[in-house]
Every structure is written in C-alpha cells, then in structure tokens.
Symmetry: C2
DNA sequence: TTCGATGCTGTAAGCGCTTTCATCGATCAC
DNA sequence: GTGATCGATGAAAGCGCTTACAGCATCGAA
C-alpha cells in the first residue's frame, strides 16, 4: 500500500540498460555520449534497449563524474520587489535565458540579496551546482565579484564594477556615451535649462550616465542644471520631478537615468500643467517597451540588452571552457527619438 | 606552467576535512548536516577545521547521495520573444523566484519551446536535475503535463490545463469570474455596444475570460458584440481594435483579455479620434504595472500573481515532500477601476 | 607464422557525499 | 560484578555516471 508511492520509484539506470542489453556499463555510456568506439550493431542494440526501457541519463551523477554541471547562475543583487519590477531587469533575465538556448546549459535564477546569510550564495556557487556566474544589477560596495574571482569561479558581470577587480570580466553598455547623447540631443533641439533625474549613486550605470550628461552640457557650454536622485523606480521619478520643478520652475528639459523614472516625471509634469514636449522635453534611458507606450512616447537611450546578454554568456562559457576572463567589453548605445523631445 | 590553471584546482572535500581533523568522513558529514549525534568537542573541532580549510559541501555529490537536488524548474512554454515580453510572465518569474527564498530551493529557468527536439525538456527534468516542475504559459495541445505526471515528476501547472489530467495539480485564477466582472462593470456604467479583444483560443485563460464575459453580457440581457482575436501582444491588440472599429464604428466599450492588447486598443482608439472613456470605455486584464501608467490609466482585472506563485511553489514543495498532488486551486480576482472606463 | 597495429569491449577506480550497521566504551540497574 | 543500555564514532556500501586502462580479437605486413 504505502510501498508503491512515488518515493520508491526508481527509474532505470545505466546498469539496468547494460544488463538488459547484455553489455557493460561502459559501453552503454559510450553509446549515450556518442563516443566513437562502439560497433554499429552494439550501438543499435543499446539504443533499442534504451528506448524500450525509457532510460534517461541522470544528470546529477554525470555532473559528479565529470565535475561539470552544465548550468550557470544569474544572480540579481536587489533587495526588494520594487526594483526587481524594473522591466530592464526582466528583459535581462529573458535575454539571458534565450541566449543559452541551444548550448545545453541551464539557467539558475538566484535572487541573492534575499538570502538570510550573506555567505550562502558564495557557498552555493562554490558548492559546484553551477559552473559559472552571471552577475547583474550590482551595487558599488558589493564584495561578491572579488570573492567569486578568488574562489576561482568563472564570473561575468553585467555593468562596470565600481573598482577594477583583476581577472574579472564584465560587459557594460556605454553609459557615459549614452548620457552624453541625451544631453547633446536636448541641447541640439534648443533646450537651455536642462534638469536631470539621476539614478542611485552607488550604481556605476547611474553615475556614468550622469558623467556623460555633464560632459555633454559642458561641451555645449551650458551650466549644469538642477539634479535630483532617484532609485530607478517610477515613484522616485515622481518625487524627483516634483523637487526639480520647485527648484527651477522654468526648466525646459529633463533627462532621466531610466525610463521608469522618466514615466514618473511625465506624470508630474502633466499634473503641473506642463506640456511635453512643448514646455518641457523629456528623455529617458533603457528604451524598454514601456517607453514606446507612454503618451507622448518617450525619447530614450536604447540599451542593447540582447547583445549584452549574448556577450556575457559567451564570455562566461568560454571562461568555463578554460579560457582567460578576457577584457571588458563596452557596447555602444543609441538614442531613439520619439515624441517627448 | 599549464598545470596550475583553474582546471586543476580542487577545493577541499569531506575527506580533506576528516583527515585534517583526525576524524572520519561520517563524523564530518554529521557536523555539516547538524545531525544530533556528535559530541560537543568533536563538533567544535570539526567546525574549526571546516572554516580553516574553507570547506564547502559539494551539492552535486549530496544530490546524488540523497537523490534530491533541492531545485525546481520553472518552464515557460512560449516560442518567441514577443510573447515572453509580456510583463505578466516577467512578474510570474520574479514572484516565483521570491516565493522560493528561504526554502533553500533553487529556481531553474527553462524556456522549453526553444529546445531543438521536443523530448529534451522531459529528459532534462526526468534526468533528475530538478525535483519538480512549475509549468507556466501553457497551450492547449501541450502533452507535457501528462508526460510529466506519467514520469512521476512532481508538477504544478499555472492556469487550468485544457483537459483534466488525473494527478495533476494546478493553480488558476478565476478567469471566468474575471471576464464576467469586466462585462458587468461595463454594463453597469451604461455601456451597451461592447466589443471584445480575446486572447489566443488555444489558451484556457483566454477562453475562460471570454466565457465569463459572455455570461456577464447574457446575464444583463445584452447581445454579444463583435469579437476579434489577438495573441496577447500589443500589436495584435492594435490590429484587433482596428478590425472591431470597422465592424462596429459605434461601439462604446471594449474588453481586452490582457493589458498589453488593451494598450494597443487605446492607441488605435486615440488615432481614430475616439475619446477614452467618454466615447469608448476600455477594460484590460492582468493589472500589470503598465496598466496604471497609460493615459488614461487602464481599468483592469487584477490577477494575484504573487499569491499564485506562492501557492504553486507551496503545492510543489509539498508534492516533492511526498504528498499527493492535491486539488486544483482557484484564486479570486478583482476589478481595479481607473480612468479608462 | 609472427609481430605490431587497430578496433571494440569490459574491468574497475573514481567523483564527493549520505547513511546503515557494527563497534566500543561508558553508564546504569540489579 | 554482570549484563543490558545508550551515545558517539568509524567502516563501508552505496548514489549513477565517466574514463583510464587492460584485454582480446582481427587484420595486414613482414
């Protein structure tokens, strides 16, 4: 009665197949792995037995024997759900998943900030359940990349780490260039009192965009307008925009460090009776799908998410294969002009 | 030279620790697993040795020995990126990830439609790299749930499967109720020529919403208005709305089976010179964040994503623990009234 | 005929961990 | 003092697979 529950069920193993086919385990293994040195008839026999028995190799056992799991972790370093709701991160997850298709490598999603102890993640990773780690959404003070490198875990970071870690590969988008692009665009369309909603200063992406934006203004000989900081959420964008309007009611443009905050700005501007783009031009960043759906549609700096994901997984897999980490990669961005500017 | 690459690096094992501490492997294992029968001083000694050596247990080996991986797969059955861009799915991924935090169970993300052969996924899952499977975004003809149940893989489906599979647990939201809610709301606000943008008929969520919508209209004694089908993408929503306007230029309301399509409808309506909600009321479905960001903000049927994810993982973990699959769960939905209706 | 290739196949030693079972003092009741 | 009991530890047998290495025909060349 209680003995036929699924707990007792055991799928066929290599031994089962070997016994049924009258060959050795090794031979079956060779057939399964398409190893060359098996005669045609034996291979056929074994194949037949495999399908007859419905045998499926046990990946865990294989991993143990080969010391390789064929899976990589994507770890997101964000504390709360609000930030995780950022469509850019979602896009990153999906893109990463897609770029792994066909490689036989599986994606393990790890939300690390949520772990009770900090050590857990490193232990997990070092515990050998994944061959390598993709790191996204990092903050400046994060010790993780260094720890991983020291533990000799193949690692690729999405975005530039705060300070260089020797032997750490990363793939960044040209945030400085993007910020500058935004500034130049606004200047180029005649705006002169440009404000900015910056992202959290502890994230290099945010800092770099701000730097680029400053350079763009400086290059045009314009003074740096008021700046308010947000945390990449829409709500923080609304707060920042409100603050900016108070500080300079006559501003004629605003550059937000991501689209979500730009959307917040759009709302506040509308509520304050400003017309976009007539009175105030708005430029966002990321170019998530949302940007094309707002009213007016948002001009935004496009990030090549898929390309970034592809590059990251490519570097990681090469590293897992034994190659050196390789140099940092910087991907170009471009401005997508829509109705808000 | 070439012999000190990372390929040759081997982290300490149980044996290493045992030898260093002068005890047996078994004892170290007991300490690591907090098994009770270890004397205090030995435990202390072993703990010290562990930290000194920086030992981390190898999860793969443990999995093999315990026949348990402590990870589950979330498989998404969608072919192309467009559909995967649906924020509802993204929310589902994040929510699932979050609901697993603290359980010690890892999430493996599998995008199954992309696999070259259809069999691969089943093999992967049966291959024992995961203890169970969460299935999302399923289509009617999908044989996967039945296959999984037959292979005795603990499985929980998100959404109602097309036809009942004995021994298959699923967690659905009340789509019939939601459709009805939408219809009643529109009727209740005086709309009489109500059209609908339905989702793909091969997904039960879409079909059920349509059913509920029909019932709501029937209950109010209203005729069923024109219906156009989309595939849950915004573009398909635009196409559908265009078609509906042609078929009935005087319609005064439209119910879309998800928010993305509702957004598409909003655009087309605006382009056609209809005011929302004055001329045409619009109701969406899912209540993703986007719904509150459109202009006008979208009335939508709210789906309890987090609750669904929590329930699914709960059921799955129980099932992995040996419990019976349990009865299907139906979660209630509610209408969130905003400006578009 | 003999020897060395050559090509398959089997043997067996791991991979690093868990867990049962046996062992061995120490403790206790009598 | 004796046997029963108990708690802590070790020995060893797996978990299911890979992969040297060895063995054994078979074949061609000398």
């Amino acid at each position: 009665m209680s003995s036929d529950g699924r707990a007792d069920f055991r799928p066929p193993t290599l031994d089962t197949v070997a016994a049924a086919a009258g060959v050795s385990r090794a031979t079956v293994s060779r057939v399964v792995n398409n190893s060359a040195k098996v005669s045609a008839d034996v291979r056929e026999l074994v194949d037949a037995t495999i399908t007859r028995l419905g045998y499926v190799p046990n990946r865990t056992a294989r991993s143990l024997a080969k010391r390789r799991t064929d899976s990589v972790a994507l770890v997101l370093r964000e504390a709360d759900a609000t930030v995780l709701a950022d469509p850019y991160l979602a896009a990153m997850i999906i893109a990463t998943s897609r770029s792994l298709v066909g490689t036989g490598v599986q994606l393990v999603l790890v939300n690390a900030r949520d772990d009770p102890e900090h050590g857990t993640l490193v232990d997990y990773v070092r515990g050998g359940h994944v061959d390598g780690v993709l790191l996204a959404s990092m903050h400046a003070d994060d010790p993780l990349p260094r720890v991983l490198v020291e533990a000799r875990v193949p690692t690729v970071v999405g975005g530039r780490p705060e300070r260089p870690v020797p032997g750490l590969a990363y793939v960044d988008c040209d945030n400085v260039g993007g910020g500058r692009l935004a500034a130049e665009h606004l200047v180029g369309t005649g705006r002169r009192r440009i404000a900015s909603i910056a992202g959290p200063p502890d994230m290099t992406a945010a800092a770099d965009r701000l730097t680029g934006y400053h350079r763009g203004l400086a290059h045009a000989g314009l003074p740096i307008g008021p700046i308010a900081f947000g945390d990449f959420t829409r709500l923080s964008g609304e707060r920042a925009m409100t603050e900016l309007l108070e500080r300079d009611p006559d501003l004629d443009a605003v550059f937000a460090a991501n689209d979500l905050m730009a959307v917040g700005a759009l709302r506040v501007l509308r509520a304050a009776g400003r017309r976009v783009p007539e009175d105030v031009a708005v430029v966002g960043y990321d170019d998530v799908e949302l940007a094309s759906l707002t009213e007016p549609a948002l001009t935004s700096v496009h990030q090549p998410v898929s390309e970034q994901a592809d590059t990251m997984t490519g570097l990681l897999l090469r590293q897992i294969g034994g190659a050196a980490p390789g140099d940092p990669v910087l991907l170009p961005v471009e401005l997508v002009h829509r109705d808000s500017s």
